[in-house]
């Protein structure tokens, strides 16, 4: 059974009269509990890949099956629903609401899911405990360090128990020590059964992943299992 099935996905943009092929004819299958990295230089199409996988954008052509459901034909509101329930986003710049406390940030996806306040609070606390931030849940993002902010963002992504954790350069704004901590956290989550998709241009981040897909000019040029990593399991 595949979690994600991409069939002949194309995404074209128009810059003036010029057609830009951000993705062309992508075929890919991702199974549950995979730990996969998309790598490539800038302009390789990995951001577009992330937008399409994250249901933020619709492909120009092709079929995208998520949990065996075709999401390439859904409306904006239906996509919002999928993003809410199936996908947990983690961004390079954390993207937390600046005025909301860590707890409120983590509670936000549950608001859109329609979870009542008490349950919402409990679930958010659990998620924050999982990323070791139970003692900082009343702080607003500007009172937290970069690593702590990214942990809050991870807690926010996890709180809805999504099928996929989708991380876009999650350590791009962090120093090397914090990067190690965050990657360790991702490794743990993967060991607990979470499917993780990462988009990065750093090879040592991709090293953590079990499968690496290299994109160039909107096409898959490499798709390999990370032998060393697999050997460790």
């Amino acid at each position: 059974m595949s979690l994600i099935l991409l069939e002949d996905i194309c995404k074209y943009y128009y810059m003036g009269d010029q057609q830009v092929k951000a993705l062309s004819h992508i075929n890919l299958t991702i199974k549950p509990n995979e730990y996969i990295a998309f790598i490539g230089s800038s302009g390789s199409g990995k951001s577009t890949m992330m937008n399409i996988l994250g249901c933020l954008d619709k492909p120009t052509k092709g079929r995208y099956l998520l949990n065996e459901k075709n999401v390439s034909t859904l409306t904006q509101n239906e996509l919002a629903d999928i993003r809410n329930k199936e996908i947990g986003f983690i961004f390079q710049s954390f993207n937390l609401l600046p005025r909301a406390s860590a707890l409120n940030n983590v509670m936000l996806p549950l608001v859109y899911k329609g979870i009542p306040l008490n349950l919402r609070k409990n679930l958010a606390k659990e998620a924050l405990e999982k990323v070791n931030l139970a003692d900082r849940m009343d702080h607003i993002p500007s009172e937290l360090s970069g690593g702590q902010r990214q942990r809050v963002a991870i807690a926010r992504a996890l709180v809805t128990q999504p099928s996929i954790l989708l991380a876009d350069e999650p350590t791009g704004n962090l120093d090397s020590q914090t990067t190690q901590d965050i990657m360790t956290l991702f490794d743990e989550l993967h060991n607990e059964g979470q499917t993780i998709i990462m988009v990065t241009h750093e090879d040592d981040i991709a090293e953590h992943c079990h499968r690496v897909v290299r994109l160039s000019d909107g096409q898959i040029v490499e798709d390999y299992e990370n032998e060393r990593k697999l050997a460790n399991v």
Partner: protein, 409 residues
């Protein structure tokens, strides 16, 4: 419903986060609503006190007074209600509880009254014991005119507080004699003060028995009488009015086609004339202040548009983690409504204070009175302004593309 509560929470936190800006934004609404409430409260206070004044007439009474049409006045003719007219009405009209003729010493003006070398001027009326009920007079000392005072033409008088002061009469003036129209009249009653109305004292009067007044006015050829009739019940009001009209037209020998030289009025007619003016005033002023509410609304829309642009990235985040269009729409719409309602509430309180202040600072002005409907309209109007001017920025926010919004710096 659920997301409504959430939107309220987020709206309030956002309004609080930009406290000063929110205050400035709502200032337009505050000024609009407070001026509405201040103006309405003053006008309503006025109208309330005018109605209070007319309540004294009693709702089942009608009044008859002379009226000279303009064309007649130009010819030098002055219409009068004569004692004979009063007698004809008394004889000819049925269903009247009692009839209160009032004879002015000098219609519309004041007359000279003296006491121990002091002269004062007051309105002197000749009337019967029923005048007390019709004019709502309470007695402080002594008594009011009685039936027999009129029958026996007693030279007695009931005076108001202002007149007592002007004449330097003792606090309890019962038994003193005052000089009026060549006769000494014994003071038998002092009325409770009524205060002033638009700066005119209502206590500057004296009442003598009707028949006494007639004899005092002996040399006055044609006295003019103001007649008030207390009806047994209101059902035959129109019939009675018609009857009086026929009697007076016959007495005054008016030909068909000639205008009446008298007026028959019900208290409703008197008050409705004034309420018409007041409601016109309310509508005109209401129109002016609603323009200021619209200006306030534009201020809110402006700030909401700025706020949407500022928070583009936040909107992108919310959309990425699953906010639907209506979540974002509601959030911004409710923020606009909260802002304008806040302005509305502050405006209502401020306007009430201003109204109080205004009526307190003008001497003899009736106290301000804020009717509930004005509060309701002000509240509803400011909520409406919030929705009207919030919808555009909210729609702009809701329609943002999540990818574009996330990329926004």
């Amino acid at each position: 419903m659920f997301s409504l509560i959430e939107s309220f929470r987020s709206a309030i936190s956002s309004v609080r986060a930009h406290g000063f800006r929110s205050f400035l934004t709502t200032l337009g609404i505050i000024i609009g609503v407070s001026s509405t409430i201040a103006v309405v409260s003053v006008i309503q206070g006025l109208s309330y006190s005018i109605n209070q004044q007319f309540e004294g007439f009693g709702s089942n009474s009608i009044s008859v007074r002379s009226f000279t049409p303009r064309s007649e006045r130009l010819k030098g003719k002055i219409a009068r209600i004569t004692p004979q007219d009063v007698e004809r009405i008394r004889e000819g009209v049925e269903g009247v509880e009692h009839i209160t003729p009032t004879l002015g010493s000098n219609v519309g003006g004041t007359s000279s009254i003296k006491y121990k070398g002091i002269e004062a001027f007051g309105q002197v009326a000749g009337s019967t014991y029923t005048y007390q009920a019709v004019q709502n007079i309470d007695i402080k000392h002594g008594r009011f005119l009685s039936y027999s005072d009129n029958q026996t033409r007693r030279k007695v008088v009931v005076i108001g507080e202002k007149l007592r002061e002007d004449l330097s009469l003792p606090k309890n003036p019962i038994g003193e004699y005052i000089f009026f129209a060549g006769e000494w009249l014994k003071v038998i009653g002092l009325a409770e003060p009524k205060g002033s109305f638009f700066g005119f004292s209502q206590d500057n009067f004296a009442v003598v028995p009707y028949s006494t007044m007639q004899s005092l006015n002996g040399n006055l050829l044609e006295p003019d009488i103001f007649v008030q009739l207390q009806l047994k019940n209101l059902d035959n009001l129109e019939q009675i009015k018609g009857k009086i009209k026929r009697i007076l037209r016959k007495e005054h020998r008016l030909k068909p086609g000639e205008d009446d030289d008298f007026k028959i009025e019900t208290p409703e007619q008197l008050t409705s004339g004034i309420s018409d003016v007041i409601s016109m005033l309310t509508i005109v002023l209401g129109g002016i202040v609603s323009i200021s509410l619209i200006v306030g609304g534009i201020g809110i829309m402006n700030i909401m548009l700025v706020s949407v642009t500022e928070r583009t990235r936040e909107i992108g985040i919310c959309k990425a983690i699953g906010a639907k269009r209506h979540h974002i729409l509601l959030q911004f719409l409710i923020e606009a409504v909260v802002l304008s309602l806040l302005g509305g509430i502050i405006g209502i309180l401020l306007g009430y204070g201003l109204g109080m202040l205004a009526s307190a600072s003008i001497p003899n002005f009736p106290p301000a009175n804020v009717p509930l409907w004005a509060v309701g309209i002000a509240f509803g109007f400011s909520a409406g302004v919030g929705v009207l001017f919030g919808i555009l920025p909210a729609a702009k926010a809701a329609n943002l593309d999540p990818i574009e919004a996330l990329r926004y710096e």
